[in-house]
Assembly symmetry: C2
Homo-oligomer: 292 residues x 2
């Protein structure tokens, strides 16, 4: 592990074509300190094996992505969501990370992400957000038992309808306020929150409350990709002010890992070592200087 990359973490979504073993190998070879894991890659490798692979490579698991999708209206949908999230909590604990990133889900009117609304579908955003809060409350005791934190991820409003009805850090912290900071936290993903007028104040609040559980960096790139989920880029390729946001995160007392999570077809089509070299270069130039 090289000293200056000790806090850099490769999220497996950035190297989508790689298996978990390959991603861990690429990250370790480049001198990174951690990996962020998606559940699909963990499942492919097998949970125990995934934990062993990361541990043997000398890396940390910065977070597990993702729990969530908690917005179902019907009892069966809610039961299934709770069951899936309990499984994710167990996986996080087994993998040795406290941080389970929660993508909370969209409106009931949305049949699946990125698709047209059901004509008579439920568009009640206020009630949907309340259901998220209710489900989080139901998950908290189980998360506490397993010493895992539910990490609320406010998402760019571009995804409010179909992926995540938590849209701001303030809203996420308001929801978290009912629970202990070691059990419900928040993650700052620059792609999702870079535009927020209250970002500086709410990052400071997250730090002061002990809830700043993660820092994910990638850029807001224009024009948007045909699939808007994939409009992320390497730091420096878009419009995010990494200097300002990284300083706010550092000033809030954050000392954890910095995950790079880029959904981008061109990045996915690039060899893993090249991807990690590029992200390490951008991290050194645009993020690291402001991190302490």
């Amino acid at each position: 592990m090289s000293a200056d990359l000790s806090r850099l973490s490769l999220n497996t979504a950035t190297t989508k074509a790689l298996t978990l073993e390959e991603a861990v190998e690429v990250a370790a070879r480049a001198g990174l300190g951690a990996v962020g894991l998606w559940r699909d890659r963990v499942a492919e490798a097998g949970l125990q094996r995934a934990a062993a692979v990361v541990r043997e490579a000398g890396l940390r698991v910065s977070s597990l992505c993702r729990g969530g999708f908690l917005t179902a209206v019907d009892a069966e949908g809610q039961r299934a969501a709770l069951e899936d999230n309990r499984a994710a909590i167990v996986e996080a604990a087994t993998l040795g990370t406290r941080e389970l990133v929660m993508v909370v889900g969209g409106l009931p009117a949305c049949p699946s992400p990125g698709t047209a609304a059901l004509p008579d579908g439920d568009r009640d955003l206020v009630a949907t957000r309340q259901r998220v809060a209710d489900r989080i409350a139901e998950l908290v005791p189980f998360a506490e038992e397993h010493d895992v934190r539910l990490v609320l991820e406010p998402m760019n409003p571009i995804f409010a309808a179909d992926r995540g009805v938590l849209s701001t850090l303030e809203q996420s912290l308001d929801l978290a306020a009912d629970f202990a900071p070691q059990t419900v936290g928040v993650v700052v993903d620059t792609y999702h929150v870079w535009w927020d007028p209250k970002l500086e104040a709410q990052i400071a609040r997250a730090g002061a409350e002990g809830r700043l559980a993660g820092y994910q960096v990638c850029d807001w790139v224009l024009p948007l990709a045909d699939d808007s989920l994939l409009s992320r880029g390497y730091m420096g390729d878009g419009y995010v002010d990494f200097r300002a946001i990284t300083r706010w995160v550092a000033e809030a007392g954050y000392t954890g890992d910095v995950e790079v999570e880029i959904f981008n077809q061109a990045v996915w089509d690039t060899p893993g070592d090249t991807v990690v070299a590029t992200m390490a270069d951008r991290y050194r130039r645009l993020v690291l200087p402001h991190l302490s």
Copy 2:
């Protein structure tokens, strides 16, 4: 004018293929009470003639779109922006509307809307927002003289980089707070603000402060169009909860016009009378019942 459509206004952006005269004719024939005008259509018709055409059709001008683009860093860019906005203020007054909608502009790193960032461009969002506030302050005396209101439009964060660095109603009202409510107001455009967790509270605040200067309705449609600017749809085609938002607007005391402003290629390819019939139908079903 039919009684139930007396508050419905056709924004000329919805019928992009029509001249101002044609749009006014279509709106009047359908029984609408008003039109919202874009400056390009006004310029084509000629300012005095545009004013006469609307007046003679017995319609109101609900707003003029748009002033703004106030984020230039250089003195010449700032001077040009102020000059253009003063011209827009005069046009609004001449057209008989008090409401000049302000799309405040994006980051200096953005060479033009929808395009990639300049590699060494200025991404300082905090400073950019401050320049907007400074330019608004410079325009206020001129707007007051002409009895025109600068109507700040918070835009969906999807446009924060390239079109409008005002992203929430709260932020817009905070900026407006330094000025008289008859001179600096806000507009609620459902497409831009539907996702905002603080929307109900901030609409109420806008009403209480006397700053609620307009209500624009169109829907957030998925999947996003290739040109994300055009991802708007008729009310009911997307994810917006018009019942909730319209009630909040009504409860805030808003009694003005309801503009339909839809940027959408399929709508633009449809004959004007059909477009207005569809929007009137959706308005009657989804908006009007909650407007009082």
